[in-house]
């Protein structure tokens, strides 16, 4: 479990992170979304004990990052957004070095390394030089490296950035496996849909502030005060337009004549939406279908980050 309380990082008068409060339950996957420079990497660097916060505190499995950073390091597997590899070191030796760095003895390393290479689909590359691997392979190797000491918590900063679609899918598969293994995973991305399907909870950060936190659905609901409703009808729209205009929760009614659809923005709750439909049916409007339009997560993300900018 990860607990973050009032975490703040200031550079002069600039807030890279402002009063972040967050709790991430054990065994869940938390997605951190935000534009570049929003404060995701700052948060992760603080949690990885690489950066000292200006104020605030965080606990990883109950261990304070400021009081016992050395103990925290044993609990976490950290993968930075940008990282390099050593030249002239083979894949197996690369993992061996980090295994030794976590105090694993030679026997333990010899057992673990083939398993990890298999997990990240690099078994056939075990004798290849690390610096000659492709970007996607390096990312996967770095993930294997972060797993070598069997950490309970994984902090992955943009693990899919710069990868081609195929490598992204592979990375997602591995993360799914890790989730099944019961790891608590913190993962960041500047692309919301990339995270939405694999995360239990999401946090949206903008200009150093957490502007939304919760399940994907709740975030969508919270951030989107208005939803788009489509009503498919037969016959004339005139009567229906008058009917919907009388509802104070409806706005911006538009007709899509060729498809026989009437579309409007609705800001009521689900119960109110149900009541509206019942009333419409009772008043005898020729309604064929009444549905909520699927909104693009990307649009939501763009909308909310734009909103926060304007504040």
């Amino acid at each position: 479990m990860i607990e973050i309380k009032g975490l703040t990082k200031k550079y002069g008068s600039f807030y890279a992170l402002k009063d972040l409060n967050l709790t991430i339950e054990e065994g869940t996957v938390f997605g951190f979304v935000g534009a570049n420079g929003a404060g995701k990497s700052t948060t992760f660097s603080i949690l990885a004990t690489l950066l000292q916060p200006t104020s605030g505190e965080a606990w990883i499995n109950g261990i304070s990052i400021s009081q016992s950073p050395h103990e925290v390091r044993k609990q976490i597997g950290y993968m930075p957004d940008f990282f390099g590899v050593y030249d002239q070191l083979k894949t197996e030796e690369y993992l061996d070095f980090y295994g030794a760095s976590y105090g694993l003895d030679a026997q333990q390393r010899a057992v673990l390394i083939p398993k990890l290479l298999e997990l990240v689909n690099l078994s056939n590359k075990r004798n290849d030089y690390v610096d000659l691997l492709s970007r996607g392979m390096k990312q996967r190797l770095c993930l294997a490296r972060a797993l070598i000491h069997d950490p309970k918590v994984l902090i992955l900063d943009e693990p899919a950035s710069g990868l081609d679609p195929r490598a992204r899918v592979e990375m997602r598969e591995i993360l799914r496996e890790l989730k099944a293994m019961g790891k608590t995973i913190l993962i960041s991305s500047h692309i919301l849909p990339e995270l939405a399907e694999m995360c239990d909870t999401l946090g949206v950060i903008d200009s150093g502030e957490l502007i939304a936190h919760g399940s994907v659905q709740s975030i969508q609901e919270k951030l989107q005060s208005e939803k788009v409703i489509s009503v498919k009808m037969t016959g004339s729209f005139a009567e229906a337009i008058v009917f919907f205009e009388n509802d104070p929760l409806v706005s911006q009614i538009t007709e899509i004549q060729e498809k026989g659809i009437l579309q409007f923005l609705y800001k009521g709750t689900e119960d109110e939406q149900l009541a509206l439909l019942r009333k419409a049916m009772a008043s005898g409007l020729p309604i064929l279908a009444f549905s909520e339009e699927e909104t693009d997560l990307e649009d939501v993300f763009m909308e909310i980050t734009k909103g926060a900018d304007a504040l």
Partner: protein
Amino acid sequence: MKELLANPVMVKEIKLRFRNMKSFTGLFFYLLIMGIFVFGFINLTSSISGSGFFRPEESFLLFSMLSYIQLGLILFITPGLTAGTISSEREKQTLNILLTTAQSSFQIIFGKLLSSIAFLLLLLVSGLPIYSMVFLYGGVSPSQIAAIFLFYFLTLLVIGALGVLYSTLLRRTIVSMIATYSTMIFLTAVTGFFLILSVSLSAAAMGTGVAPLSYFWASINPAVVLLTLLEPGFSAEIAQLTGIPLPLWVSYTIFCTLIFAGSIWLSVSKLRVNMNKYR
């Protein structure tokens, strides 16, 4: 001790160093220079004297020159090996990952220093057979060689620790190299110049009393300290000149120990630059 020798950073660095042709070429040229010098000197002296002999005095001269050449090589090679240890990790973006492992700052710094020193020790040890050529002709005692080797070890430990310190403090390897070489030049050339200056000034003042400044410059200059090790008579001369009877090698050892300990302490505390409060 076992933990120190099983240092993962050191093991990895040594592995990488010897996977690299550069190290073998370096070793080859080091021995080549030493070899050419020894055989050239022996050939030249015996042919100039026309006797075909190589006298013990000449053997001692060869030993002295060889000792200075080796000191020069240590002074020039050590900064090159140590001044990029931490900054190159930073430049290659491997440092952050290393800092999140369970290794302490001390382990990382010490591993880096030990691996560089291990290579330098290999250079010294591999040069021993050439160095020992002088034994064939006499004039030099084994204890003198041992003392000089200890002196080399101390010197490379200090320059190495300074290189690691600069590499920790300065972000770029090239700047760290310049800083380390500058310090090395200060310790050899600049202190030498100050020594000559302070000696001539005190001579001009006809002073016969204590000259601590001259003693200080002499005691931190490796070339001068080496001279006192080669020629014990020179040690007495320095004592007479400065009025301080403490042998230079004692002060040099104290100076080196202080600089070494200070550099390591500072490197360890500054390695996690963004984590001032904790290690």
